[in-house]
Symmetry: C2
Subunit: 678 residues, 2 copies
């Protein structure tokens, strides 16, 4: 933790009452100077705004006061902030020089100075000031009776200008309130780009008045009206967030082609039809790039979509076109020959290039997944890097290639939060790893990154738990200094950050209880909760192998949906095992065997629960094996009875087999360490 003192503290005052380790800031600011003393919060606390900010600061400051009030119960007197310099005597003074613009490379810096009787936020514009308010909320401390802020000086600005979250609202529709609460949470983590995946094989989610067929035939009634879109764009703007729409073409087009089969590439006898997909996976439905009508329809779709989004970028997807329909279509093959297009990749570039002038009419530049990066692609485009070792590529390879080739680029490889991987893999995934040498110009093209929430296995009930709190770690990676990378320190802060997300309506904790209560059939959920803190959902898309088990309407109210990456009790157990293995004292052994005793009780509780709860049944095999192994290890460690090593190994391996509950035991590796030394 050396770097905190050296890099961040500057003139660290050794007798400060509050140490930086006590601060649960995220993303960690660029510079903090802590001083002795505190600012006491009282019900008279007020906020005043000066300068020439955008009106969004009034909304932000009002929300700030309400959140502070809800958290402290102080009955703060100030209600709504609506005017410049309304309370010149206020203890918190916010000054912004100018109106902030919602676009990339805007200045988001701020300075926060807390003295014992005054707080000042200075920022070039309201965007920086909003970030300053979030930092201030995170700084709130308390003793047993009162609330206060530490005396501190913070100077802060982001390392990367693009700190995004993509939500796929196509596979499982996510209603307006889900989007809004996630925008609130993003803003609290200083994230500034919301990438909205609005169409895919499973549904078309945006109302188009010129093309009512799209939602009539390909949405199951689940779509955003244009009013709702505008409302969300406005809501995002008020929180300093840019919204980038995505209409995925030419692949992922089953929904579009359900309404307009005439521009598909499929050949066959009789009338060609498409239908929206109910499974996950990569499908054949692909637009016909040789058909002029394709561009007519897309152009008229863009005519209506583009004005809804002030952003200067438009995401056209462009990923995972499997080429099957193109290969099977003789006319398309002939077109390739006639136009000297060597392969489907070239044909897709041809298609993409045709979209550039169409988007230009609306002053939009093209953004697309990395497959769009081909020789002739315009250098105006943003390349969205997503593939990695999972797809047989070098991790982040496209990002570096794009930057070197002159493209602005954004990283999502390593930030796929739907893979259900642990914090560490995302947190340590730096868009600019030290080993990569880039020129300053090339580095500047690496705009930042985006967490990607694909929605095959999420509904409004569980989506928050897949996004949060892990996305906070990604937010820190994109905002903070590269040297801020201590995973243990992250975990400690994240406990508070995760709790505080509830203030913004994020449902990751509360809805876990709902799922467990449903599984328990309204019985006591303690044993289920304990087990859920030892288990993690299967990773890397193994849960929905081949995309066939879970369809778009399958229940996501199961045990795996209540579990999460970074299972909490598993982390504690792993630490206890490591401590014990380092130093086999009685106390360290006891710390480990206490877990075993709990697991035996837990298994019995689960069995008891299952007599009136069919949804508990799929959990029992894994719980039983864990309990059996725990009993064996207890015998060895507590009672010093030697256990048959074959039996032990057998039990251990059963701990590692696929559970009917679609989860895996997050304690397996630590258990293996213990078994291996017996």
């Amino acid at each position: 933790m050396k770097y905190f003192l050296i890099l961040l503290f500057g003139t660290f005052v050794s007798n400060a009452q509050i140490a930086s380790e006590q601060l649960n800031l995220m993303p960690w600011p660029q510079k903090i100077k802590l001083f002795e003393g505190t600012f006491a919060l009282s019900k008279n606390f007020k906020v005043n705004i000066t300068g020439n900010p955008n009106d969004r600061i009034f909304i932000g400051a009002t929300n700030f006061v309400r959140r502070l009030d809800g958290r402290t119960g102080l009955f703060l007197e100030q209600s709504f902030l609506t005017k410049i310099n309304e309370k010149p005597e206020a203890e918190l003074q916010i000054n912004c020089t100018r109106n902030g613009k919602i676009e990339i490379n805007e200045d988001e810096s701020y300075q926060l100075i807390i003295a014992s009787n005054k707080i000042i936020i200075n920022a070039t514009n309201d965007l920086g000031a909003l970030h300053g308010l979030e930092t201030l909320l995170q700084l709130l401390q308390n003793n047993s009776t009162s609330y206060f802020f530490p005396v501190v000086e913070i100077t802060d600005s982001p390392r990367f200008t693009w700190r995004g979250l993509m939500i796929d609202a196509a596979r499982h529709f996510q209603p307006v309130d889900v989007i809004k609460r996630n925008l609130d949470a993003m803003a609290s983590m200083k994230m500034n780009v919301f990438h909205w995946h609005l169409a895919d094989d499973q549904g078309w989610r945006i109302q188009l008045k010129n093309h009512p067929k799209l939602t009539e035939l390909a949405s199951d009634g689940n779509f955003y009206t244009q009013k709702e879109i505008k409302n969300i764009v406005q809501y995002a703007d008020e929180r300093g967030i840019l919204v980038i729409p995505e209409i995925d073409v030419p692949g992922h087009a089953s929904a579009l082609l359900t309404a307009y089969p005439e521009i598909g590439s499929k050949v066959g006898e009789g009338k060609i039809t498409y239908e929206i997909q109910r499974n996950s996976g990569i499908f054949n439905a692909t637009l016909d790039p040789t058909n002029p009508k394709t561009y007519e329809i897309l152009s008229s779709i863009f005519d209506e979509v583009c004005p809804l989004f002030p952003s200067s970028y438009f995401h056209i997807g462009g990923d995972e076109n499997n080429g099957k329909e193109w290969n099977a279509n003789p006319a398309i093959q002939k077109f390739k020959q006639d136009n000297n297009l060597m392969n489907n990749h070239d044909l897709q570039t041809y298609f993409n290039m045709k979209l550039i002038p169409i988007l230009k009419i609306h002053n939009k530049k093209l953004m697309g997944w990395e497959e769009i990066m081909t020789e002739n692609m315009s250098k105006d485009a943003i390349i969205h890097a997503w593939r990695g070792t999972n797809e047989g590529q070098e991790a982040g390879g496209a990002l570096i290639k794009a930057a070197k080739s002159g493209y602005n680029t954004v990283l999502s490889n390593g930030y796929y939060i739907d893979l259900m991987l642990g914090l560490e893999s995302h947190y340590l995934n730096d868009p600019l790893p030290k080993k990569i040498i880039l020129s300053p110009e090339e580095k500047a093209r690496v705009l930042g990154g985006e967490a990607a929430m694909w929605s095959e296995l999420v509904t409004p009930l569980n989506i928050d738990s897949r996004i949060w709190p892990r996305t906070a770690a990604i937010a820190e990676r994109l905002w903070s200094n590269a040297e801020v990378n201590d995973i243990n320190r992250l975990r400690k802060r994240l406990k508070t950050i995760s709790f505080r997300l509830e203030e913004l309506g994020i449902t990751h904790i509360r809805n876990k209880e709902v799922i467990l209560r449903n599984i328990s059939n309204n019985q006591d959920t303690r044993a289920l909760n304990d087990f859920s803190n030892l288990c993690e959902p299967l990773k890397n898309y193994k849960r929905n192998g081949g995309g066939k088990k879970y369809r778009m309407h399958s229940p996501l109210t199961l045990f795996a949906d209540a579990c999460n990456a970074d299972a909490a009790q598993a982390l504690d157990f792993n630490e206890a095992v490591n401590t014990y293995l380092d130093n086999k004292t009685v106390a360290n052994s006891k710390a480990v065997t206490n877990f075993f005793k709990k697991w035996v009780v837990m298994n019995n509780d689960l069995i008891a629960l299952s007599t009136n709860a069919p949804l508990v049944q799929p959990l029992l095999p894994l719980s039983q094996i864990l309990s059996d192994l725990a009993e064996q290890l207890l015998s060895e460690m507590d009672k010093k009875k030697k256990v048959n090593p074959t039996l032990m190994k057998d039990l251990l391996e059963k701990c590692n087999t696929r559970s009917p509950a679609d989860v895996e035991l997050a304690v397996y590796t630590s258990l293996k360490k213990l078994v291996d030394i017996q």
Copy 2:
């Protein structure tokens, strides 16, 4: 419980596998015949619809399948229902003769027949069929591994045609998602009228394009757009629910007069202005009934509001006009004299009568709170009875008077759920009590009742917990036979009903955890939860005495907001005390003293918690007194040590003093019984 056997069971089959006591139906159906045997639910279960229903049955049946799937995790194969007779082989057959109309006195009856291999719902129209689906979901049973329905025949229809819930979205705005989830919950309880209180002193919540000033000046930005209103009316229609809008006039008009002060009754020097209120209470702002412009503006407001709501009724409020502005305005006094209006009541009638032809243009009849019932009021109006002993009136008096005077009438007195009274007071509040003798025609004018959720002390975070589950008891009162009135049986069923409301997104359980977690400052919430199950929020508006403590932006994240009427552990304690007092066995004594031991531990836990949680501090005085009294009673009952009776009485009375946490101990009465016998 005699009536269940006699009235409801008819040919009750004595060897039925499932007894009616096992069924958690609510509202309890008119007729149930249980037979031996069960219908086993499998993943192949499908639904088919025949007849000539409204399309809403497809939405209802699709939601039914998804809820069944989420609850059981069966991966049911059927996705979206969209067509008549799509699955003729389906196990569940729904037949509706005709399209249901969303209006009062529509036929809502249904018949549900479950055989071991087939389920049939027959209904005149889709409204009855939707009710049948809710009953079917409530009938689902399980053993340890599977789900099934009992073989049963149910014939059902409502006792009253008006089974409503009013939500006040004016004092605290309630966003669209709050309204929608409550509409879902209403439908699950077979409620059919949503009364939407859209304007009051604290805010104007409906967008009017001809009157943008109303939301610009009097909403703080919190209002429903017309699209949102239409969307909610449609959503309600899909669930068989009629929406009645309320614009409260001529009193409760601060918001309206903030935009249009020129039609207010206030006199004074200089420019007359009004502003929206931040406190609760009855305010002076009142429209000027003598000013023609008042009717011009109201008429043009109604021109825009009325077409948004298909209902043939329009609620004009008409309550709590304190008359102060009228009395202080010489021109209004002169108008009264000139027009032979004896008092303000007459003047208000004059005003109300002027609204009737304005509403008639839109084919709307007038509905208003009981104050509108005056000599000349049109018999077309619906009288909404609300006053009772709290307001110095006979409970429900206006209802009976209205029915006898020839008005249709709806009861809300006794159904004010914001008073935080217990279940019993609402459940036993029959609109047609036996002691009241009415002719058949008069009885028919008693349309039913409405739960009233005034929103002085509710936000989206806690509103569900104030509405549910108590409103389910009111729903049963209005649907079921008058003889279904056993409070213990209600409580037992309500435990399951309350749990099942989570399926529809109702947040009463989950958000309690959120509030407690905030109070605990992210520490263990068990002691807080235990204490919350002993305490109830202050009743009858005592919490916000005079409307001054809590303003519209005050935090409602406090302990009282996590507590609820009918505190669960208090009910258990009261039962244990009564059992002990009936029969002072050792076991019965132990059952009581076990509570005391828990409370002593709980108090210590709360003290420990408070060292890092300022919001726990206000709870400690009450918890400490309870713990002290528990220790004294423990000494007496367990150790047979005689305690100083003065000390004991003193402690008891301290248990009954106002707590800084704005709650009261729901165990006080039982404690008093114990102290009194020592």
